[in-house]
Amino acid sequence: MIKSTGTTQLTLLPQAPQADRTIRPVRPAAPQQTSPQRRSSLWYCLTLPALDTLPPHQQEDCLDQLAQLSQAFSSAISLHPQALVFEIRSGLNYFGGAESLHAKYQQEVEQLLTRLASNYGVSAEQLAFNFAACPTIEGSLLLARGNGNTLVYRKENLHSALGQLPIESLQVKPEPQRRLINMGIRHLGDLWRLPPAGLRRRFGSDFLELINKALGKAPEPIKNYLPPPAFVHSYELPYEVENLSLLRPVVDEMIAQLCDFLRHRELCASSIKLTLIHEQREATPLEVGLRQASRSQQHLMLLIDTHIENLQIPAPVTALHLEVIQFDAFMSHSESLLVGVDKEANNTGDPAAASLEQFMERLQARLGGDPIKGLNSIEEHCPEYASETVRPGENATASATPKNPRPLWLLDEPLRLSLRRGSLYHRQAITLLSGPERIEARWWSGSEVCRDYYVARETGGSRLWIYREREGDRHWYLHGYFA
């Protein structure tokens, strides 16, 4: 069980303004004092001081989960390093006061963190937490990092509440920290007595800004936490469907909703999953990965059709479930895959290029992976490295071709030729036509290539590209066909 580090009750600090204290305000705060009734916001802060001992992705995930949990308590949530702040004043009436909100929240946070600790395989101490609430964001962060478990309702009390905190809780860099200590400043309260102009000169305007923000004297712009988009949609069919083509209108409707969702959020889907649910049988999942993120209904439908086309289902379909696995930002001018070559063709609306791209998309949806490749020729002596497959459209401009003949087919693995009574055999006897062409390359790579290449003719008429190794056993190999 994860416990908070301090007492579980929020200690309410004295509410009465201590007017007699000899505070030299950083700036005359007259306007605020004249309107004490103004409802200011109240920020609740949760810090996890030992969170930085976790790997970054777990930190991110942990804060994300906490933020999602906090959405039940507040609509304005902002994430900070190892901390999370949200506004609670607007919800105090609903939750019946800060204490009951705190009790409820603390219980849920403890449950979540216990679960996360076992998920991540970390000790409970690493996810220990602290909390505080006060009218400013920076203030609540400072309070939570300091003693924790503090509640300050009014801005006027911030001076005294923050003043008690040790100077370390500001978490400034070691050098300014040392200077602060040397100046004899042990608590934040000591800072209140110093002239702001002097503080700015010594520690920079960022430092002063931080203090002003904490005291509610400077505006605190916040970046609201936005939950990641999610699209999950289910449809119960009124009757069991065995003929998959009857599902099409339903799927079409679901995809239309998905596309609306994507359009409203300026998003694209790059991977979607449609699950066909059967009675008493395991559901059939259809995962559709897109070459290029899209939000076109027609396009997505086409891909799903490709999948459904030759799908075997174990039982009639009773329900459908559509989910987006991967979102992508929407680009209004998505680049064509066949860039370069095809630019002019696309602009003029060449139907062949457009449908070719669609074909590639369908092919990928059906076969998975990257089934379609372009070819590229490289200026390289070693024959097997002189040709490479690239993504379509990424071919380099034509490089110089070798002067000696090169075959149209290359074997992936050179085939050893046999020698029978002094003549070479593949399937039939081989006679050399031309050569040798000596190729020596890759001496640096450990697998040195020292070969004499010949063009040869098999009795049956095939033209072969064969080579003899110049080292070792001097075997003959077949490396290509002129075809």
């Binding site: 062949a352 459209g393 033209r463």
Partner: protein
């Protein structure tokens, strides 16, 4: 009988004005114009004076390397020049880029389907092959793309029903498909069926191309072509 030839010409004209009428005796005159094969002798032997502009061509050869690709190199060049694409579906070996570049083929217009990338560390390791039925599906879909260009695939043999599907796809897409096969399939619905055989004619190397079937021709004809003429 001075006016007899004029009557014949009149009948000729009458028959030719009806395009749905096909006359077996007059096989060299077909309305549609084919794409030149790049080999004058072969052009001469084909009813459309070249490759059919659409449909499936079956090419039979017993072994690889006897010039089956050379035969289509001029066609590939021609199609690429007019902005089309060449699709290689599940080729049996790696198409070799330097060789293709030497043959004057623009590599940027070539797409290979169903070949897994050979990595820098192990250029030899490349697992090819998408399942046979997927290759056929790919070919059918590729042929259906309007004016895609040339789609090539390799099979040992194909049942008639699947050949018919491919032929139909090629006709709808107005695309040319080439199927390299080992075994002859009787009564195939494809537009053209060729057989390639190597010959040794003295010092000269020739390739015999037997036109087994072509729309508009009804008995086989053999042409001897020097495919590898430019080669040393």
């Amino acid at each position: 009988m001075a006016n007899a030839p004029t009557i014949e010409t009149a009948i000729d004209q009458l028959l030719e004005s009806n395009r749905s009428l096909w006359r077996g005796c007059n096989r060299d005159r077909l309305d549609s114009e084919g794409i030149t094969t790049g080999f004058a002798l072969l052009d001469e032997a084909l009813p459309e004076r070249g490759w059919p502009p659409q449909g499936v061509i079956e090419v039979l050869s017993k072994q690889p390397g006897i010039g089956e690709l050379q035969l289509f190199v001029p066609l590939m060049r021609e199609l690429i020049a007019s902005g089309h694409w060449i699709l290689w579906i599940a080729p049996p070996y790696s198409p070799y880029a330097p060789g293709l570049a030497q043959a004057g083929i623009d590599l940027r217009r070539i797409l290979v389907v169903g070949q897994v990338e050979a990595t820098e560390d192990s250029p030899k390791k490349s697992t090819r092959g998408i399942p046979a039925n997927e290759a056929l599906w790919s070919m059918e879909k590729a042929l259906q793309i309007q004016h895609c260009g040339l789609v090539m695939a390799w099979r040992d043999a194909l049942p008639q029903r699947q050949l018919r599907r491919l032929q139909l796809a090629a006709m709808t897409g107005k695309t040319l498909g080439v199927l390299f096969m080992r075994k002859n399939s009787e009564h195939s619905p494809s537009s053209m069926r060729l057989k390639i055989e190597a010959l040794k004619h003295g010092a000269e190397e020739l390739t015999a191309i037997v036109v087994l079937k072509a729309k508009g021709r009804f008995h086989p004809k053999t042409v001897h072509v020097q495919l590898t003429g430019a080669r040393p």
